[in-house]
Amino acid sequence: MSGAVLQPGLAAATPRGRAVSWQKTAKTVAIVIGAFLLLAWTVFPFFWILLTSLKAPGDILSVPPKFIFEPTLDNYAALVMGEQRGNVAASRPDFPRFFLNSLIISTGAVALSIAAGIPAAYALARYEFKGKNALAFLFMSFRFVPFIAFVIPLYLIYQRIGFYNTHHGLILAYQLITLPFTIWMLRSFFLEVPSEIQEAAAIDGCTWFGVLVRVILPLSAPGIAVTVILGFMFCWNAFNYPLMLAGRQTFPVTVGAIQFISYEQVLWGQMAAATIVAALPQLLLSLMVQKYIVRGLTMGAVR
């Protein structure tokens, strides 16, 4: 009997339940499609460039584009060994040298910025002094200045004093990128060290130097590491300054990669290989500092 009473209720519940689960399925499908589209939009260009870099010249410009082909490492070999790099020997892109240049300039620029930035950030984080905010703001403002306003006079000065097409000239020019960033990032990390610990150290007889070396630096070591890595990445990405201030001997990978475009032809395969090689350090490093990238790009404004 009771079963008979229950039956109508069940019968009524089932269609409604089906409707709900149908909506749920539609929503799930929409989310999966959305996730797939987002993923494809993000990853496909990398995938396609990787494929292009593994193609022989005949496969690259085939119509329709080939997804399946016989892969070759010729483009990478050409990049390293210098085969088929263009018709004129003197104008051949020397990619291993560009890579080395990127390493030298980026490392030098970051080292100089860290050396000057640590005491400066310490002063900005710990002391009150006249002109402090104006100075901090001045450094921040470099983030927004059009590079051309600096590169024209720098080019003229560098030509005159022999800094054009030198590593040290570029390292100095890159301070426009790294120094403001380094100071603001380090300052934001130094501010996170509790002031009680610093005061306790000062009471125990530590000078400003002792507080900096024994308290601040050890406690913000991870922050300094992040600043170094991100600063290195921003230098690696730099294109404008070396485009105008470097020559063939000092081109970094960013300027080097466009050397595969010439009036006669575009070496698509080698350019694809060059973009992969130029991007690779960035991809590896960005995995290391994942959590801090947003903070770095906004100079500490967003944590």
């Binding site: 996730a35 927004f144 024209i152």
Partner: protein
């Protein structure tokens, strides 16, 4: 007695100088940045042709006045502003959508989030070259091939005026959408839960909740990303330089590209520098306005 009286004074004096001494290395580098800039401002008021150094003359504001009569200048000015508005609207709009999407329950969210850092951190000029390969205008280009799947005719990406503008916008969006999305996603995940509970109690639907709770709370972050994106879009250079070079028919020439052309293609350093200063003034005006808006938005949220 005199010793006791002198000691604190001396310490105080040293304390006064200490922050400046700490800042000294950074200030030296800062001077090294400001000197070329000041020199550049001076050059902007000179006739300075690199090939004809003996024609060098101080001419007050003639370079600036000449620019006003230049037809290309007003076109470049319009393109700079138009592109900035389009880029900010598209990137912040899509970025907000992506952030809201990833804020929900999405399969593989952590993976998508990590992969989205890749376009963000590779050199912009490398991004441009990657898309240049994909946007080959013949049917050998993968993008045109994919468009043919959904029945769209091949697009002449860099060769036509509209195609070039859209291409630059797509490439810039690919590189910077993750910046907007990740900042807004971080902000969404850090929002307080109380307003949402209150909205639920009041029986607000999802659209009302978004309109009256999420959006106002998110506003300071939206203004912040608008500020960063506007500043970068006004100064966009790498992507245009590596893809369209400002063409076709100067359609993608913005103030930055035009300043570069004056300086490094026509070697009129004075005019190039005047261009750079005009762009800088534009950037300062826009950033000041947005900064004010940001202060207002943050105050409102605090209240």
């Amino acid at each position: 007695m005199s010793d006791v009286a002198i000691a604190p004074r001396r310490r105080r004096r040293r304390g006064w100088a200490l922050p400046y001494l700490l800042m000294a290395p950074a200030l030296v580098l800062l001077a090294g940045m400001l000197y070329p800039f000041a020199l550049g401002v001076y050059y902007s008021m000179t006739r300075y042709w690199l090939q004809y150094p003996n024609r060098f003359r101080f001419i007050w504001f003639d370079n600036y006045l000449d620019l006003l009569e230049e037809p290309l200048f007003s076109r470049a000015f319009q393109f700079t502003l138009g592109f900035t508005v389009a880029a900010v609207v598209v990137q912040v709009g899509l970025g907000l959508a992506v952030a809201l999407f990833l804020h929900g329950r999405v399969p593989g969210r952590a993976v998508i989030r990590a992969l989205m850092l890749m376009p963000l951190m590779i050199p912009p000029v490398i991004t441009a070259l990657m898309w240049k390969i994909m946007m080959a205008s013949s049917e050998a280009g993968i993008l045109n091939h994919m468009l043919s799947w959904i029945g769209i005719d091949p697009v002449n990406w860099f060769g036509s005026i509209n195609g070039a503008i859209v291409s630059v916008l797509i490439i810039d969006t690919w590189g910077n959408l993750p910046f907007v999305a990740l900042i807004l996603l971080g902000a969404l995940q850090a929002l307080p839960t109380e307003p949402y509970e209150a909205a639920k109690v009041d029986g607000a639907g999802p659209i009302d909740t978004f309109r009256y709770v999420t959006l106002p709370l998110l506003m300071p972050f939206i203004v912040l990303v608008v500020m960063f994106r506007a500043m970068d879009s006004l100064r966009i250079f790498d992507v245009i330089y590596a893809t369209t070079g400002g063409g076709p028919n100067d359609a993608t020439t913005n103030l930055h590209i035009m300043a570069y052309q004056y300086g490094f293609q026509w070697y009129q350093m004075g005019k190039g520098m005047a261009q750079a200063i005009v762009l800088l003034i534009l950037v300062v005006i826009v950033s000041t306005l947005l900064m004010k808006l940001w202060n207002k938005a943050s105050e409102r949220t605090v209240n």
